[in-house]
Amino acid sequence: MQEHVQLSQKKINDDLLAGVLGMPKWWLGAVGFLLLVIATGIGAYGYEINKGLGVTGLNRPVLWGFYITNFVFWIGISHAGIMISAILRLTQAEWRRPVTRVAEVMTIFSLMAALSNIMFHVGRPWRLFWVYPYDFSRGLFMNIRSPFVWDPSAVMTYLIGSTLFVYVALIPDIAVVRDRATGKFAPKIYGMLCLGWRGTPRQWKLQAIAGILLSALVLPVFVSVHSIVSWDFAVAIGVEGWHSTIFAPYFIIGAIHSGVSAVAMIMALAMWMWKLDNYLRPDHFDAIGRLLIVVATTWFFFFFVEWIFALYTLESPELALRELQVFQAPYMWLFLAFLLTSFFIPVPMWLFKSVRRSPGLMFLSTILVNIGMWLERFLIIIPGLARRQPLQFDWGSYHPSIVEILVVAETFAFVALGMLLFSKFFPIIPIFDMKEGMQVREEIKIGRRIVPASIRETP
């Protein structure tokens, strides 16, 4: 392809390690700012622990609010990592190469952020460890019937799996950094981390096998995690709008929608911040844009079916809830914003090739999607609880308090900080994968047309 840039190995090393071995100007500033946000968030959380959950905007009956919304959101974001890298790796899509690590690392940090939201949410976080099986002296076990036990188990499995996944793919790159790092400790630390990588054929083979195995094993976990998150809502019969069988696939596809968007967003950011124009090419954004059209449309169909069935029940609480969501302020405005930002603005944009190939516009549209998907979770959770239902004696809404806003901002800062720190210490674009990509890249001439091709081993 015309836009494909063939780079030498040295150039790849130089470009991708510049951030790791050097220090861009903005880096400290950004880290400082994020730390400040995190500090205020933690301070707010400390205040919440000391005073009780009364400092949040939660009330009866809106007992779940920003934290759970945020939890679902981050779990959703985390899904793109595995989705992009495992599926594309298994299907051997060439364009995945520079994208995978961004996605995987985002998975890890957003999973951590999601887990921390559970901590913010519960009334007595210092007893949170009771959901894990430890308490044998009292003869008490956690209640494995509860989705809140399935949740942490699945999320922890996913976190461990995806960390391993990232790590396995990172080993050859750490070795590259090890060989180049200066100073007293850095080479030693990188040396330990890369597990004695020397790049022998056997090591490469093992690394490749491990990568494929982990991809295949992590995929079912990835599906299970968000299904389980959706069952936090769907299995409950107490809340009308939640008891719907479509929730598991609907959440998964929504998660992929928001997650892939987040990947595009972070790709654009990484491209600008670390000057990776040679690696994250317009056709990567193009590929992600096309993927997003499919994902967004599928997601919208699920959304449509969910709504149709909600109306189809003709149950008065269900109808009242939908009315609340669509026709009553403030949910009305949020709903409008949600529809526009998550589907009706970005998808028509992506239909144009010029938009898909422009990182700036992709950045903009994917930010919109993420705003929309955050609102989607909010609109599922809060109106569902605030609805007028039988025996509901307290009518009212929910307004997040400053504490909740600070804590939610903290999770965003946390993920951003995690990504920043990671990209400072490890190459954010897989060096070995890029080099491999350069090796297997070929072109075939058919008549006057030149078609991109890739080298496969003879089967």
């Binding site: 598991a248 890739s454 496969r456």
Partner: protein
């Protein structure tokens, strides 16, 4: 597979491996056109057998017509077979569409096999015609997704037959899109037949191939149109499953409000579609003489798809089961009892084991996936599983006596008692056989008209692959356009 020499194909290795062992496009064309021109005894006997089954089916149908159309229960097996054809044959073209959009090279010989199944879509349309009389209109007290509710001033204006109208329209467009897809993708081949065939085939292909001469513009247009028609076909397929699963199933059973089910229905049909194509591939390889084209690679790739879709089967099933089962609402429990553990338990268990458990346990082994017999046997299992799964749902829904229970209360009404299973009678068995025979007959006839292996896609592959020396070994270079 052994490496290729640039000088010519190696006779000993041509049975296995991914890429057809022909070196020039001419060889491919000659091979395929001759194969297609010849009328084999096997094909004739296939047509005879399928025709015989179809005749049996017509006899069964006539017997049923004598029972009249007022009792929905006697038509349960007929409805189920309609859905079975919709699930298997109409979903099969997806196997052509999705990998083509993903630009996978292994699909090249497979896509036409899959597309030809849209000929059976016409058959499903024929099957649907009697159902227009059998399906209860909305005045029967049944609700529809079109919100018929006599109390409501707005929805009471909805035509009483609106589900019929919608479903007919959707089925018609599905069949039309299928034929259009088949025609589009066959166009370059028809042009080839125009040049290379003789007799009636040449005439008919000359008429259908239009003015195809293979200019770049025509090719670009073709790819573009195939992409759009394929996407539309997929959307229409999902929509048809949505309509059929709601209007033919859920509205007939009170309390069955399972928002995931339309999608489960569609996902199951993709699984069954893949199984159908694998089975067809097997027959074409075994009896059609196409063993050069349907190689291990096709079976391997298709079996991966089948495996993934079998896992999806479980996920979709469990997602809705879990919500119903955990919630413990009496109305939902009653639905579970009726459809899963009650009268139709054997059918459910058969479906569950054949559609999910067996494929999971058997196909998790790569040695099974990468073989000819493994995927074939598994597709038979999956098709049988789909059959039983459709049986327990459609027969159960169509045999449920009191549709009218739905009308008054806004709360779902739990069953007072679980009705007994509706066992098939002689006409039902005949109908089952006849419908299967009819679909196969349509396929066989269509395969007579259009080559079952896409010639132009094989030729295209020739362009995109290249063997090349690389350091001390030889590698395959595969082009991916776009």
């Amino acid at each position: 597979m052994a490496s290729h020499n640039a000088s010519g194909h190696n006779e000993e290795h041509h049975a296995e491996g991914m890429y057809v062992p022909f070196t020039s496009q001419r060889e491919v064309v000659n091979d395929l056109v001759t194969k297609h021109d010849k009328i084999s005894d096997k094909w004739l006997s296939g047509v005879a057998a399928a025709g015989f089954l179809l005749v049996l089916g017509v006899i069964g149908f006539v017997m049923r017509v004598n029972d009249g159309v007022s009792d929905r229960m006697v038509w349960a097996y007929y409805a189920m077979m309609f859905s079975f054809i919709l699930t298997t044959a109409s979903a099969a073209p997806m196997v052509a569409i999705a990998p083509r959009l993903a630009n996978a090279h292994w699909r090249r010989p497979v896509s036409r096999v899959a597309e030809l199944w849209s000929a059976a879509g016409i058959f499903s349309l024929l099957l649907f015609i009697p159902m227009l009389w059998i399906l209860p209109p909305l005045t029967d007290g049944r609700r529809s997704l079109w919100f018929y509710n006599s109390d409501d001033p707005f929805f009471s204006k909805v035509p009483v037959y609106s589900p019929h109208i919608w479903t007919t329209a959707a089925l018609l467009s599905l069949a039309a899109l299928g034929i259009m897809l088949l025609w589009l993708s066959a166009m370059p081949d028809l042009a080839l037949m125009r040049e290379h065939s003789t007799g009636w085939k040449q005439k008919w292909s000359a008429r259908l191939s239009g003015r195809w001469i293979g200019t770049t513009e025509q090719w670009n247009m073709l790819h573009h149109r195939m992409g759009i028609v394929g996407a539309l076909y997929f959307m229409m397929l999902v929509f048809v499953h949505y309509l059929v699963s709601t209007d033919f199933l859920m509205t007939l059973v009170p309390g069955w409000i399972d928002s995931l089910y339309p999608l489960t229905h569609a996902a199951n049909s993709l699984q069954a579609g893949v199984a159908t194509v694998i089975l067809t591939m097997f027959f074409l390889r075994k009896f059609g003489g196409y063993e050069d084209y349907f190689t291990l690679d096709q079976f391997w790739a298709m079996s991966k798809l089948l495996f993934a879709l079998s896992l999806l089967w479980f996920w979709f099933w469990f997602s809705s089961f879990n919500v119903f089962w955990y919630g413990k609402k009496p109305s939902e429990q009653a639905v579970l009892k009726y459809l899963m553990v009650g009268s139709y338990q054997p059918a459910f268990m058969a479906g569950f084991i054949l559609s999910f458990v067996t494929p999971l346990l058997v196909m998790m082994w790569n040695r099974v996936r990468k073989s000819f017999w493994g995927p074939t046997i598994m597709s038979v299992a999956v098709l049988a599983g789909t059959f039983f799964d459709r049986l327990r749902l459609y027969v159960a829904a169509w045999s449920y006596p009191g549709v009218g229970d739905y009308r008054v209360d806004k709360h779902e009404i739990p069953f007072d008692s679980i009705p007994a299973a509706n066992m098939p009678g002689v006409p039902d068995v005949l109908i089952v056989l006849g419908v299967i025979g009819g679909a196969v007959l349509f396929y066989l006839l269509a395969a007579r008209l259009i080559p079952p292996v896409s010639i132009w896609e094989q030729k295209e592959l020739m362009l995109y692959k290249l063997h090349k020396a690389y350091h001390r070994t030889e590698v395959l270079v595969l082009g991916k356009p776009r």
